[in-house]
């Protein structure tokens, strides 16, 4: 039992190392393959809770309100993030449509909601059976949610369009920028190790509670 608590295995190369506590804000690297072993962050749970709430507030206007309005030759046209998914869908590019939907609409929402629910449960010290599963899903989601890539694509499109039409920036555009910043902030404030330790703690406490009740 002692061996597993005093040692740590590098996730990149499986090297066994002595466990050292990292100073808050500092990173520990594996001496063999240079993978980050630990990156301790200050007040991770509280920060993630706050960031996920603000991200969720901006979510609906960011995805469903029009981003830009174009004026060209007496006509105008606008579109939201959700409309871009619909446009692929109407053009019968179903695979691309589903991928766009997942990466820019569904996973950002899922990721923020999962982080919100996990950090709220940890903050209020409540354990539900699904807690480890929810957090695991949130960690796996992170790779496939791409609002930040979408933002760069939006800037590229603006440069493409600006020569042929005049552009009005709508509320959705600013909400979307805010949403992107919040998703990036949640990733950088997230310290999985602290979360797992808290989940383990709450889990053992709650199971002890059940035994006492019996």
């Amino acid at each position: 039992m002692t061996a597993t608590t005093t040692l740590i295995a590098c996730p990149g190369c499986d090297l066994l190392l002595k466990k050292i506590e990292a100073h808050p804000g500092k990173k520990l690297f594996c001496p063999r393959c240079n993978t980050v072993l630990l990156h301790k962050k200050v007040n991770s749970i509280t920060k993630v809770l706050a960031i996920s709430i603000s991200g969720l507030l901006a979510y609906i206007p960011a995805i469903f309100l029009p981003l830009l309005t174009l004026h060209s030759m007496g006509m105008s046209q606008n579109g939201s993030i959700f409309d871009t998914f619909l446009s692929f869908y109407h053009q019968k590019y179903y695979f691309v449509a589903v991928l766009v939907f997942i990466t820019s609409v569904f996973f950002p929402l899922l990721n923020l909601s999962l982080l919100f629910s996990v950090s709220l449960q940890l903050k209020t010290q409540r354990y539900s059976r699904s807690l480890p599963f929810l957090f695991r899903t949130a960690l796996h989601m992170d790779e496939w949610g791409m609002p930040d890539v979408y933002l760069i694509a939006l800037l590229v499109s603006i440069i493409k369009i600006i020569s042929v039409a005049s552009i009005d920036y709508n509320v959705g555009f600013f909400c979307f920028i805010f949403l992107v910043f919040m998703t990036r902030a949640s990733t950088s404030a997230l310290d999985p190790d602290t979360f797992w330790k808290n989940i383990e703690q709450i889990r053992s406490d709650s199971s002890r509670g059940v035994d006492d009740a019996r």
Partner: protein
């Protein structure tokens, strides 16, 4: 400095893929699925069938990469004249227009990144098969870089999505997607899945 580089596997310890918890393994339970007591994820010494799956995904993405670049990815209908353009056509257009920076971003995201991912993964896979022990540290760094850049190849797909939504003025000007969009997004999915399925610890097992 420890003289022997002991790995967790040699010491009979397993670390959880999902939460990193280090666990002792009992050799008796081989048939049933082991799960992590902390996060309930399935436990393995190494990700199961990692190499086979990564080879399959990489070969698939090489095959899909060919139509993704040869077929048109976007069609622009300007006053009835339809013009199709491939990924490279789009990039060349930007360079002609003098938008070098944007051209460079698109070129990096949709040409350099997929090629780099595919070649990089092939080098890593070959070095595991032939047990090359040189430059493992650099290969690890390269793998982490491949993991990091993977999602940025979606850039061009999002640009097409935005263009076809916003630039549609009825019969005057409209932009629609073309077949390569499907192939290209499939390349992105395959290469990203390959990076996620690959277990970088296999690189170090031979040393």
């Amino acid at each position: 400095m420890m003289p022997d580089k002991a790995t967790a596997m040699k010491a009979g310890l397993m670390s959880c893929h999902d939460c990193g918890k280090l666990l002792k393994t009992r050799e008796t339970v081989k048939t049933e699925v082991l799960t992590c007591p902390r996060c309930n994820a399935e436990l393995h010494f190494r990700k199961p069938h990692s190499l086979t799956r990564v080879w399959a995904l990489i070969i698939t993405s090489v095959l899909l990469f060919i139509p993704a670049n040869l077929l048109p990815i976007m069609r622009v209908d300007f006053l009835g004249t339809i013009e199709s353009s491939t990924i490279m056509d789009g990039i060349i257009y930007f360079f002609h227009e003098g938008e070098y920076f944007i051209g460079l971003i698109i070129f990096t995201a949709s040409v350099l990144v997929p090629i780099f991912k595919i070649i990089g993964m092939i080098i890593i896979l070959l070095s595991i098969h032939f047990k090359w022990k040189r430059g493992l540290r650099h290969k690890s760094a390269m793998f982490r870089f491949i993991e990091f850049i993977g999602r940025w190849s979606m850039l061009d797909i999002f640009v097409i999505a935005l263009m076809s939504t916003l630039v549609s003025f009825g019969g005057l000007t409209s932009t629609i997607a073309a077949p390569a969009a499907t192939y290209f997004s499939a390349v992105v999915v395959c290469t990203m899945s390959a990076a996620l399925t690959f277990d970088s610890r296999l690189l170090w097992d031979a040393s």
